[in-house]
């Protein structure tokens, strides 16, 4: 395996243990229309990306996204609370800036999309956070055929025109059975999820 490929892949996938930080600015998003308390999620209104870096002096982080996913969020605008959140991802729609890296990430070294073509998240508990609009969402994340319960910080903003939700957190890829190159590539992968932003998707040829 050429080093560059290893490194890139590493860069993409990492994760950590649910140490998460809210960083993405909520006001950068365009509120998604909520009809009857529910909004449908798709790449044209939701950004879903992951970033992973290498270990060592040259982290060279790489970004990956999924071109196809569907989901839904339910919220109560009057009480400004989240009620449900679910996402089903077509793992084969994974894209990165580099075509060969995309192929490697889909291979059995990482996502093994032939064997595990679906990924997803189903929220189970929505606890209010310290500040208004902040929540701790606990749910089942399925990756690489492994389902684990995770808790992630979520920031939600309710406006007259709809809802925006932002979450950035890290997962430990090895906990989901992706143990390739743990000595070269970060095991922590940062995942960013923004309802209200269009997803960036790379073409199959990269870029």
């Amino acid at each position: 395996m050429p080093s560059w490929m290893f490194s890139q892949a590493a860069a993409l996938l990492s994760v950590g243990v649910l140490a998460a930080v809210l960083t993405a600015p909520v006001n950068a998003a365009e509120p998604v229309n909520v009809k009857d308390g529910k909004a449908l999620l798709a790449p044209d209104n939701t950004r879903l990306q992951f970033v992973c870096a290498h270990l060592g002096d040259k982290p060279d982080p790489r970004t990956g996204t999924f071109a196809k996913f569907t989901g839904a969020v339910e919220a109560d605008a009057s009480t400004k609370t989240l009620k449900s959140l679910s996402l089903e991802i077509d793992a084969n729609s994974l894209t990165t800036e580099i075509a060969k890296l995309t192929a490697h990430l889909k291979s059995p070294d990482f996502f093994d999309t032939r064997e595990h073509p679906k990924a997803g998240f189903v929220g189970k508990k929505f606890m209010p956070g310290a500040a208004a609009g902040e929540f701790k969402v606990t749910g089942d994340l399925t990756l690489h055929g492994v389902t684990k319960e995770i808790s992630v910080p979520v920031k939600a903003a309710f406006t007259g025109s709809g809802l925006t939700v932002t979450s950035e957190f890290a997962i430990d890829r090895s906990e989901f059975g992706m143990k390739y190159g743990l000595d070269k590539v970060e095991k922590n992968v940062t995942i960013t999820f923004v309802i209200g932003e269009k997803n960036k998707v790379f073409s199959e040829a990269g870029k």
Binding site: S3, S7, G56, I98, A99, K100, A103, S107, P108, R114
Partner: protein
Amino acid sequence: MFSLDFLLKGVAAPAGAAFVVALLLRRAGLGSRGIGAVAYAAGQALGTAWMLSGSGDWLPGRNLQWVPWVGVAAAAIGPTVVATGLATVERWLLTIFAAAAAAFVLVPLWPDLWPPRLTSIALFALAATVVARLLDGLVRRSSPRLIALLMAGGSGLAAMLIAASLSLTIGEAALTTAAALTGTAIALSFRSDELSVRGLCLPYTLAVGGWCYVTAIEPPPPAPPLVALLFLPAAPLVVWLTAVGPVSRWSTRRRLVAAALLWLTCVAALSAWAWFSTEGGDEEYARLTQPWHTII
């Protein structure tokens, strides 16, 4: 690229086991047609045991997990195919049966598989049968030592290409097969033994052909299959060009050199095809593939 632990347990151990088993079987004076196949099976079994002990799940399940088991099973049939007293048609039928059984577990159930599953099974079985039978015929008309070494060399190259072009996980597993074949080939090269090498042709074809096939079809659409890999297991067949025609009248030494050069040219061309067919071709890719980029 490969860890020291893997090189010791996944490469050196299977190669050493195959080598020792081949020597012991020869010393024991048992029938020679099973020596190569049994030695390979011993090395492959040890390599598979290492794979099972690691993080990867190599119990037969999805198509690629079947390859090492197919190799071991083929080692049981390989010596039977070359048993004396069998008619040619019986040898072909046995080979077709083994190749079809292998195809049944190696061809996946993916809905987007192209060609469709039944067609793929037929094509794999046909190709494997032809390659195995032509290799068997080649061993009888050329140097068994050379063919054994070319099979081992080709399997090692295939494993490296698999690791470099798609997946280190599959590449490592394929390298255990290559290690077992190499240990066997080295042991068989001490004394020219046509039957031992002939018995190895079927397990070589199904195991190495299996690794190349499962890797070639692994990239999900719209990525193209790695077609070049499909031809690699057949590379030793170029030696036929030195076994028939005017070259066959050359001196033994000149024929062997010509055969080796032909094989090297063939595998170099196939390797280049396999490698360049997976390139991205953009600036970022070019930067990353420069040799001074981080070495794993």
